[in-house]
């Protein structure tokens, strides 16, 4: 098995699944119906992307496993998603800020991944890129609406940004799998991506009148399987059925 290619694929698959699951928690709890639907629609896209990536990861693995095995039967330390995405939903502002910090990575990531020399990754990227562009339009608009809205919405958005900022850089900090991927020509250059992402973030936060925190401590660990306590709770929910009733199907 090509371990680097597997890890590289799993990293993004886990990002999509965990954020998709988090957004799914909003189902029936959104502040208004339209935004409830928006979050679950984005969740659906992300879970769709996760499925394509898990299917491919299972193929790379070559052990006869399926996408379901990878989603439902791995433990927390096997997950390679960034810590940002497992952070709790908080209020609507926190969910929006988390989404925007990820979308501002995701849309450029897929754009670059379309040039991958790995045909499957390139095809998944082309499919997902259009979706990611639509997501950032939504999350970016909401960052501006909340930040440049009322005193309360601004305060909540700023608090959310302050809390999440230390988690924002992990996604563009290369892991071993990222480095190997770039070297072999199937991965994305995170350094170059980082510049474009930074420009997008500054542009939106400026319009939103939000201040980027000066404190620049960066949490990391998700890409190597060292997670915050939140991931365990997510998996307890997500994996319950397969753990309690192994092999059960719809």
């Amino acid at each position: 098995m090509n371990e680097n290619l597997f890890n590289y694929t799993i990293q993004q698959a886990d990002n999509c699944l965990i954020l998709g699951q988090r957004l799914g928690e909003w189902c029936g709890h959104g502040p208004v119906l339209e935004q409830d639907i928006a979050m679950t629609n984005i969740s659906l896209d992300l879970i769709g992307q996760a499925r394509m990536l898990y299917q491919y990861a299972a193929e790379i693995q070559g052990e006869g496993k399926t996408e379901d095995d990878l989603a439902y039967l791995r433990d927390a330390w096997d997950f390679k998603n960034v810590l940002l995405l497992e952070q709790p939903n908080g209020d609507f502002a926190k969910t929006i800020l988390r989404q925007f910090l990820f979308d501002s990575f995701n849309c450029y990531f897929y754009e670059e991944l379309m040039n991958s020399n790995d045909e499957t990754l390139a095809a998944i990227a082309a499919k997902s890129h259009k979706e990611a562009l639509y997501h950032i339009k939504w999350s970016g608009d909401w960052v501006i609406r909340l930040g440049d809205g009322t005193g309360e919405s601004n305060a909540r958005a700023q608090t959310a940004l302050n809390e999440l900022w230390p988690y924002s850089e992990e996604v563009i900090t290369p892991s071993e799998a990222d480095e190997a991927a770039l070297e072999s020509g199937y991965g994305v250059d995170l350094m170059a991506l980082s510049e474009r992402r930074k420009a997008k973030i500054s542009e939106v936060f400026e319009e939103a009148t939000l201040k980027i925190p000066e404190n620049q401590y960066n949490h990391s660990g998700g890409k190597t399987g060292r997670h915050t306590e939140h991931l365990g709770y997510i998996l307890a929910d997500l994996q319950f059925l397969q753990r309690a009733y192994p092999g059960n199907e719809w």
Partner: protein
């Protein structure tokens, strides 16, 4: 000239698949939506090629089941369904017939020239507004007509 006569050829398969519609928009055959990408027949094995609209589209499983049932009900057993991702689906593949059927069904068809200028499928007014970027399914957003006051789905460009 030596060709053996096959009970089914491309056009008969396509014709049969006209009955397979999107379960969420039951008036439109999957061919008109651009989901059906092709039919290949090789050594009597029929290969039905489809592509998902959005990567998480929950209708895909249902569509596969419908293709399966439709062909089997005609006595066709020797076929497979292949899902491809590339090239990625786009609303540009929607046929004019498909767009007309969408509109008749009450869904505004995609307008690639100007997504801010969407015609109300109920009264034809251009005086409409986007209510929400996300609608009842992944492929639609929600609009409201300021003349007849009806809300309606818009099949967004993708």
């Amino acid at each position: 000239m030596n060709k053996t006569i096959q009970p089914f050829n491309h056009s008969t398969i396509f014709e049969l698949l006209e009955k397979v519609t999107d379960p969420e928009i039951p008036v439109i055959p999957i061919r008109d939506l651009g989901i059906l990408r092709g039919v290949e027949i090789e050594n009597d094995l029929i290969n039905i090629i489809i592509t998902p609209t959005y990567s998480g589209c929950p209708a895909m499983m249902e569509i596969e089941k419908n293709i399966n049932n439709t062909l089997k009900s005609e006595g066709i057993e020797n076929f497979k369904i292949t899902t491809i991702l590339s090239p990625p689906w786009t609303t540009e593949w929607m046929t004019e017939d498909g767009k007309r059927k969408l509109k008749e069904y009450g869904i505004a068809p995609p307008n690639p020239t100007n997504e801010d200028d969407i015609q109300c499928p109920n009264c034809g007014s251009q005086n409409t507004n986007l209510v929400s970027q996300f609608g009842s399914t992944a492929c639609k957003s929600l609009f409201k007509c300021d003349d007849c006051l009806e809300p309606f789905d818009y099949f967004k460009c993708h």
